[in-house]
């Protein structure tokens, strides 16, 4: 286990039930808002990324529903909810 494990591989170990509609969205027009920046490093699933135009995007697949982005970025820039019942990550160990 000495070499680093790829995050995608790690997330692939978890059980996810498909989410019909993204439960967390960057509010329209907020993609360049600096309040989103902390999520780039803090999201445990690495779901926030930045393109060359400085816009931040969020991919919802692999969301661990921890709530870090809601606290770090705030609800003015994120439309944040839990996924519908019976969808999203389902921990088997927890």
């Amino acid at each position: 286990m000495s070499e680093q494990m790829d995050l995608k591989v790690k997330l692939g170990l978890d059980v996810f039930k498909p989410v019909r509609e993204p439960h967390i969205k960057i509010r329209p027009g907020m993609e360049r808002d600096p309040r989103l920046r902390p999520a780039l490093r803090l999201c445990p699933a690495g779901l926030y990324s930045e393109n060359e135009k400085g816009e931040i995007a969020l991919t919802i697949d692999g969301c661990l529903e921890c709530g870090t982005c809601r606290l770090a970025c705030g609800t003015e820039v994120l439309d944040w909810n839990y996924p519908e019942g019976g969808t999203g990550v389902q921990f088997r160990f927890g």
Binding site: Q4, L42, C43, L64, Y82, G85, Q90, R92
Partner: protein, 428 residues
């Protein structure tokens, strides 16, 4: 439209603790859980201390699917290139009843929910609660999946990001400085290998905390708990602190760097990661507690902010179970009085004040400030490591006496700063 006596939102330890306590009282109780099954959304580090809550749930502990009883409490100060470890073990930790166990929540909560169901309480999974129903300033139920579910009382046990208590107007989203994020891997390993590597016999377990380089000097630390056939290994990092002083690397990489440390790598060697999880933890202590009750609603567990970091001990689960228990007791009182307004339900707060829960929170109200002392996360691990390095080092030439070695590292200015910090640490 259905009407219940009590609706509990969230089948975690607070919710299930409340449901278990409400059983056998002839009330119609409904537990709503958004996961596929109770425990599907729940994560701990983690370890549960049973002593404070043993008597609240008599008969529960003998059969509970706990992992290992903790016999080794280990603290490691981790510097960049070295570390110093303090390993405590004592006979009292091996004697029954054991004070603390490692635990895996998906397994434990699922089992606890079954005990609750066996007592005739309905636990409805795969159901997200979307809002509270408010009438004349009272919470009168919840909206879930388009259905109106009414109740005399709602107990919000929906976890650290309690959207329900926000919707009920009992709290606001909260400051990132009052929260940390924990990321964890469960690493599968044979129990005999775990026993050998951690010097354990049978079901004995080890709890290890790591402070310092783990979080690159930010508030937080690493943890490692032995389960029966796996290790729970992870890091916790203060969200506010990581925002104020930008993290040099991403959180997922931080965990990989921790796993790659020479102190850790041999412990997990040959193990295979079977799950990766993340969860936010309340860190604000007493001063960050949310409102515990309103008209027709009580808040328990992480939803109320009931987790406490006192440095050597980091606790949350027993506060969740206890607050669920007391919320249930308060509901029974209110039912007797036939009134579910805040002034009647407020007996919940009195129960918590009289118990270890709020007594601990008051007593340790300064600990969030103390444990966020930045010197803990860089300076002390480096200082202790360098001191030990010189104590153990045999140079080619003559060796310094202990006193000169100590004086070299602990200058008068340093000594003064240590004394100052010790004064603040004594508040832990």
């Amino acid at each position: 439209m259905e009407k219940f006596d009590v609706i509990i939102v969230g089948a975690g330890l607070a919710g299930l603790g409340a449901a278990y306590t409400l059983a056998d009282h002839g009330l119609e109780v409904l537990v709503l859980e958004r996961g596929d099954y109770p425990g599907a959304k729940n994560v701990t580090g983690g370890r549960l201390y049973v002593n404070p809550i043993r008597d609240f749930f008599p008969g529960l502990w003998e059969q509970a699917p706990l992992e290992r009883f903790i016999t080794h409490e280990v603290l490691t100060l981790m510097a960049k290139e070295r570390s110093v470890t303090l390993d405590y073990s004592g006979n009292e930790l091996r004697e029954e009843p054991h004070q603390g166990y490692s635990v895996l929540r998906s397994k434990f909560d699922r089992w606890l929910a079954e005990q609750v169901e066996n007592k005739g309480i309905m636990v409805l999974s795969k159901t997200r609660v979307d809002d509270v129903i408010k009438e004349n300033g009272n919470v009168a139920g919840v909206l879930a999946g388009g259905d109106e579910l009414r109740a005399d009382v709602v107990i919000a046990c929906d976890g650290v990001i309690s959207l329900l208590s926000e919707k009920a107007g009992l709290r606001s989203p909260g400051s990132p400085h009052n929260f940390a994020v924990g990321v964890k891997e469960v690493i599968s390993l044979e129990s005999s290998v775990i026993n050998d590597r951690f010097h354990l016999e049978g079901d004995e377990g080890a709890a290890r905390l790591f402070v310092g380089e783990v979080t690159k000097g930010k508030f937080g630390g690493g943890f490692l708990y032995t389960n029966r056939e796996s290790l729970s290994l992870g890091i916790v990092i203060g969200i506010g602190d990581a925002m104020d002083h930008t993290l040099p690397v991403e959180v997922p990489l931080l965990l990989e760097l921790f796993k790659g440390r020479p102190e850790l790598a041999p412990l997990i060697k040959g193990g295979s990661t079977v799950e990766y999880s993340a969860h936010v933890i309340p860190e604000g202590g007493f001063n960050a507690l949310g409102n515990l009750c309103g008209n027709g609603i009580l808040v328990a567990g992480d939803a109320a902010g009931l987790a406490l970091n006192a440095g050597f001990t980091v606790r949350g689960m027993e506060y969740a179970l206890a607050s669920g228990y007391f919320a249930a007791r308060a509901v029974l009182k209110a039912k007797e009085a036939g009134n579910f307004r805040a002034e009647t339900l407020g007996v919940y707060k009195k129960f918590l004040e009289e118990s270890f829960v709020l007594q601990d929170f008051r007593k340790f109200r300064e600990s969030p400030a103390v444990v966020s002392n930045p010197r803990l996360f860089t300076h002390y691990p480096e200082l202790t490591g360098n001191l030990m390095k010189d104590i153990y080092s045999i140079p080619a030439g003559p060796k310094d006496r202990l006193f000169s070695t100590l004086r070299k590292h602990i200058t008068p200015g340093e000594l003064w700063a240590i004394l100052k910090d010790l004064r603040s640490f004594s508040k832990l």
